[in-house]
């Protein structure tokens, strides 16, 4: 079998797994969406108010916080994974939470990774709202609350793009969730495809494990789903960028 045939065979099998809604593949996809989706929602709920606070309020340490956000946008995932692992292992300071090797630990890791991204891009979107727009709010009798609401409306497409960028990052992330989640599937899944369901196995971590087992077709199927999800997120982001 040459390389092209090998790849073609893998791709055909991959499509079969997707079309037949293979339970193993679907459960992995479900865990990915659940973990990354939850982390992104929680991150957005923190990051957007943070971006507004950094734009509208003057307080001590503001510049330091902006630097922290900007630094956080490039946090190495494996380091975040290691840090959370150390905190959550039974002997660690937060070991009593019994969160290690759970989806909650993975959500926490992605939350830490995604929050600065959403905050940083939202902050840029808010800063891009022209100053005269805010001044116009005041000239028309508006107050601080009206200025914040108007800014939110003016920057809404930029903020939506920030959330989608965060979701894209979370879906593609592998290092941190591999460390804190453990890439676990229920009994039987290791022995063969479709025999078990994912517990903390996501599309990215499963691609790593399936490739290491030389199960290229399953890895390809998971890769196709991952790319499709990221493509959808980017198409959505482009749509909102176009509307701005």
């Amino acid at each position: 079998m040459n390389g092209a045939e090998f790849l073609y065979g893998g791709a055909v099998k991959a499509f079969e797994l997707i079309i037949n809604l293979d339970p193993y593949v679907m459960s992995i996809t479900g865990v990915s969406i659940k973990v990354s989706g939850t982390a992104t929602i929680l991150a957005a709920l923190t990051a957007i108010p943070l971006a507004f606070a950094l734009s509208f309020l003057n307080f001590r340490g503001k510049q330091g916080l902006i630097t922290l956000v900007n630094t956080g946008m490039g946090l190495p995932p494996v380091f975040v994974g290691l840090f959370i692992y150390v905190m959550l292992v039974p002997a660690g300071p937060l070991g009593f939470l019994k969160m290690i090797l759970t989806q909650e630990a993975m959500i926490l890791a992605q939350y830490i990774l995604v929050t600065p991204i959403i905050a940083g891009i939202s902050l840029a979107a808010i800063k891009a709202v022209p100053g005269p727009i805010i001044e116009t709010v005041y000239t028309l009798g508006g107050r601080e609350k009206d200025a914040v609401i108007t800014t939110l409306k003016e920057a809404k497409f930029g903020i939506i793009t920030a959330i989608l960028a965060g979701l894209g990052r979370a879906l593609a992330e592998v290092g941190a969730i591999l460390i804190v989640g453990g890439n676990i599937a229920e009994t039987g899944s290791i022995a063969g495809i479709g025999e078990g369901l994912s517990r903390t196995r996501t599309l990215t971590t499963a691609i790593v494990s399936e490739t290491s087992k030389w199960d290229i077709s399953t890895a390809l199927a998971l890769g196709i789903i991952l790319i499709s999800l990221n493509l959808s997120v980017n198409l959505l982001a482009n749509f909102f960028r176009g509307r701005d």
Binding site: P130, P132, I133, E135, T136, V137, Y138, T139, L140, G141, G142, R143, D146, T150, K153, E154, D244
Partner: protein, 244 residues
């Protein structure tokens, strides 16, 4: 009897070492069109921004209806009785209706009253029927007229206009000037117009203050300043002999 609306005493303003306004003394009467005339960089915009509370003067006193403004605890309450139109129209990223209705919405007016007032204001500026149009698709002249409608829709007692016809074609200039006089006559709105456009001042102002290099060198009636200016610099500016 002429009633003082604004009284400015010994007002000064600096940005760093640069003195922008020097010892300004001025009274603005209720119901007049007062032109603050002067070349670019004379300090006209800064003075308007001080009167609209966007800048805090370095020195001097500002009285509104006899009350010293540093004693007015709620600046927003006074500001709600005013409006300021910028040289370049700022447009909220929404419909013409929502733009014009903005000042009414922040004043919690009911929907029926808002619709009527917006319709009336758009009729005054000649934009009737454009309520649903995206405001950002308006031409420059239309956008300035829409901004004008937005500034007058809630019947402010005082309207500050900062070079409102710069960059507009003659037809739009004539329309804006017509609206200014109409608003002053029918709504008894006090208008403070900052401009370097001498013919425009001749056409629409009641009284004129000439500002040169941050100094208010002459304040008098339109007839007096154009027919027999008391200051040689005023005479040179009006004749167009002054190079600035």
């Amino acid at each position: 009897m002429v009633e003082d609306l604004f009284r400015i005493e010994n007002l000064s303003m600096s940005f760093g070492d640069k003195k922008i306004l020097k010892n300004i003394n001025l009274v603005i009467h209720r119901g007049e069109i007062f032109a603050l005339m002067g070349p670019s960089g004379a300090g006209k915009t800064t003075l308007l921004r001080i009167l609209n509370f966007f800048e805090k003067p370095a020195g001097g006193d500002l009285f509104f209806e006899g009350t010293r403004l540093s004693h007015v605890r709620e600046i927003n309450t006074v500001r709600q009785r005013m409006s300021l139109l910028f040289q370049t129209p700022t447009v909220f990223n929404t419909s013409v209706f929502n733009n014009v209705a903005y000042g009414l919405k922040v004043r919690k007016m009911d929907r029926t009253a808002i619709e009527k007032k917006v319709k009336d204001a758009l009729t005054i500026v000649g934009l009737q029927g454009k309520e649903r149009q995206k405001a950002r698709t308006l031409s420059g002249g239309e956008a300035q007229r829409m901004a004008f409608a937005r500034a007058i829709v809630y019947d402010p007692e005082i309207l500050f206009l900062d070079e409102p016809t710069t960059n507009l074609d003659p037809a739009n200039v004539a329309k804006i000037e017509e609206i200014i006089m109409q608003v002053c006559d029918e709504k008894t709105t006090t208008i403070v117009l900052a401009t370097h456009n001498i013919p425009q001042v001749k056409r629409i102002a009641n009284r004129v203050g000439l500002l040169l290099n941050g100094e208010l060198i002459e304040v008098s009636s339109k007839d007096q300043i154009f027919n027999s200016p008391s200051d040689a610099r005023a005479s040179a500016f009006i004749k167009g002999d002054m190079v600035y």
